[in-house]
């Protein structure tokens, strides 16, 4: 059993470079179970790279990543998914030639331990929650941007994650589209799913997250309550580009 006080995710001194460019520079932080953490930072700050390190799509050069107390630094992505790490991609990555329902079914039959019958019913339920049920039998390659974003969320939900990583899921959406998506994410959070959310749409982010982490040039330059973070001089200067 996991100790309730133990963080669900813990990064210790994680670094990653592509050639001479350091994109993740000695990053350490911990996320307690059930928290919603927002990650902000300018383009190129290393936010998506940080996600790829947490999901295992990339391997860090140094440092360690612990998920539910287990060292997963060297564990491949598909095993991390089965252990409970779900993710959405910044640029939607649907399985184009499968239907929306089949996109979820792949995730539900491989990303969690359950029978195919259970997986089918779970997928239908998630399609209802994410308002994709009407497009269930449509090829994912033919979806609109909003539907693709919803599909990213729905497919991640289908793996039954304990920790859900959302990468700019609200980007490019209209105000109205954004609200429905945020409501779904809030509902998931209330159900106890730990959420880490990278987002530029701050008003959407601030309706869900309890803490904000600010990245710049691969380093953490702020971590704490959203109000305090947004008010801090460093963040305003570096992230919002305001001369103070």
């Amino acid at each position: 059993m996991t100790n309730p006080a133990e963080p669900i995710l813990k990064l210790e001194g994680v670094s990653k470079s592509f050639g001479a460019l350091t994109v993740t520079d000695d990053v350490s932080f911990a996320v307690p179970p059930g928290e919603a953490l927002g990650i902000i930072g300018p383009n190129g700050a290393g936010k998506s790279t940080l996600f790829n390190l947490i999901t295992g799509n990339l391997r860090p050069d140094s440092g360690s990543i612990l998920f539910m107390g287990e060292d997963v630094t060297r564990v491949p992505p598909m095993q991390r998914c089965i252990a409970g790490v779900g993710r959405s991609f910044q640029i939607p990555q649907p399985f184009d030639k499968l239907t929306v329902f089949e996109n979820l079914l792949v995730a539900a039959t491989h990303g969690r331990p359950c029978s195919e019958g259970e997986a089918e019913q779970a997928c239908a339920g998630i399609l209802e929650r994410t308002e994709l049920i009407g497009s269930a039998n449509v090829l994912a390659g033919s979806l609109s941007l909003l539907q693709r974003k919803r599909l990213e969320l729905a497919r991640a939900m289908a793996t039954d994650p304990k920790l859900l990583l959302l990468d700019e899921i609200a980007g490019g959406l209209t105000e109205g589209e954004c609200i429905a998506l945020v409501d779904t994410i809030r509902a998931l959070h209330r159900e106890g799913v730990t959420i880490i959310w990278i987002e530029h749409v701050l008003h959407a982010l601030n309706r869900v997250v309890e803490r904000l982490l600010v990245l710049d040039f691969g380093k953490i330059i702020g971590l704490g309550e959203p109000e305090a973070i947004m008010a801090s001089k460093d963040v305003q200067e570096i992230y919002l580009g305001i001369e103070v």
């Binding site: 999901t55 799509n57 491949p76 992505p77 598909m78 998914c81 089965i82 993710r87 991609f89 990555q93 649907p94 399985f95 184009d96 030639k97 499968l98 239907t99 329902f101 089949e102 996109n103 079914l105 792949v106 995730a107 039959t109 491989h110 990303g111 969690r112 195919e116 089918e120 019913q121 997928c123 239908a124 399609l127 209802e128 049920i133 009407g134 269930a136 039998n137 090829l139 497919r155 991640a156 289908a158 793996t159």
Partner: protein
């Protein structure tokens, strides 16, 4: 009002009809040697074995995303395993057929080990290189004829299981009886191939395979073991291709490195069949092999003009019907004989579902 439960099904009206028609066709094909002449049996043997090769290449490229141009390695190695074990160990040729599959499977392990390090076009060239290396190595094998090749020994042909029985039942000469035996084996291999691939694609592994093909990184992120899926299809395809290779050269009775490892016969023609028929479908290669056979019967005497025409047809189809002839037929009519789509119905979809067009 309570919403009805959700249902998932893959069957369509035409697929039920298709299954019955396929069963009838198989029965007709089994009893056909009683009525048909030797020429037709040989033609059908050619069609069946080419279709087996095409189905396995389609599994690799159309479902696994592994575009190999080195499948002749497994045809040739399988065929040489058959001749080698018959000539050197005196095995019954029918029993030796199994070794064709196993031999090709064993060759596929080191091939995959190297080729899987390469992506896309590099993978294709890598498999071709492996096939050429296999051809050159086999050409050094003196006891099966080296570079000039060899024939199936007369005594081995005479002991083939079932031949005397076929001779007495159909009242034919031994060479015709051997053709009938090879034809039945090809039919059995074809039914097992199509049935097996169809079954695989309908399981959750088939779904994972399609996910890996569409987007490997995303597939890994939802818990799919992408590497294992690629190994699985590559080994299955090698085994089946090796069996087909053994059978083709058993019927042929003669083997040489150049014919057994021919990139044109066992890969270029096979790709043509899959591409013009429709890649990524089971129906496509079936249409493709019939078109290919018709073209070959009509135009094979024109030599290189025939090959140029094949290439031209391939290009025209790729430009104007990228999903092949079956893609055209399926789009126009909505027919699917081997449906693998999992359609969700019932629940909140119950009131608005329109069963008119099949995806």
């Amino acid at each position: 009002m309570r919403t009805p439960p959700y249902l998932v099904s893959t069957r369509t009206r035409t697929s039920t009809f298709g299954a019955i028609a396929a069963a009838c066709l198989v029965v007709v094909a089994i009893v056909l040697p009683a009525f048909a002449g030797r020429g037709l049996i040989q033609d059908l043997f050619f069609i069946f074995t080419m279709l087996v090769l095409a189905q396995f290449w389609n599994l690799l490229a159309g479902y696994g995303g592994l575009v190999s141009v080195g499948q002749q390695a497994f045809v040739g190695f399988g065929a040489y395993m058959l001749f080698g074990s018959v000539i050197l160990w005196g095995l019954n040729p029918i029993a030796a057929l199994l070794l064709s599959g196993v031999g090709a499977l064993l060759l596929a392990i080191p091939t995959a080990f190297f080729a899987f390090r390469l992506q896309g076009a590099y993978f294709a060239i890598g498999t071709w290189v492996v096939a050429e290396v296999a051809r050159l190595v086999v050409a050094q094998w003196r006891s099966v004829g080296g570079g000039t090749g060899t024939s199936m020994p007369r005594e081995a042909r005479e002991v083939m299981w079932g031949v005397t029985w076929i001779q007495s039942v159909f009242d034919v000469r031994d060479s015709a009886a051997r053709d009938i035996l090879a034809y039945w084996l090809a039919l059995a291999l074809l039914v097992a191939t199509i049935g097996g691939i169809y079954w695989l694609l309908r399981t959750k592994r088939g779904l994972a395979l399609a996910a890996v093909r569409d987007n490997m990184e995303a597939a890994k992120s939802v818990g799919v073991d992408a590497a294992r899926m690629k190994w699985m299809v590559f080994l299955i395809a090698a085994f089946g291709t090796g069996l087909a290779g053994g059978l083709i050269f058993l019927q042929n009775g003669r083997i040489s490195p150049d014919s057994a490892f021919s990139v044109i016969d066992w890969t270029a023609f096979v790709i043509f069949i899959v591409v013009i028929g429709g890649i990524g479908t089971i129906e496509g290669p079936i249409i493709g092999v019939l078109v290919f056979f018709a073209l070959q019967t009509l135009f094979a005497d024109y030599g290189s003009w025939y090959l140029i025409a094949l290439g031209g047809i391939g290009i025209v189809i790729m430009l104007f019907a990228p999903r092949g002839l079956w893609g055209l037929i399926s789009d126009k009519s909505g027919i699917q004989l081997f449906p693998i789509r999992r359609r969700l119905s019932g629940g909140k979809l119950a009131d608005r579902s329109k069963p008119s067009r099949e995806e």
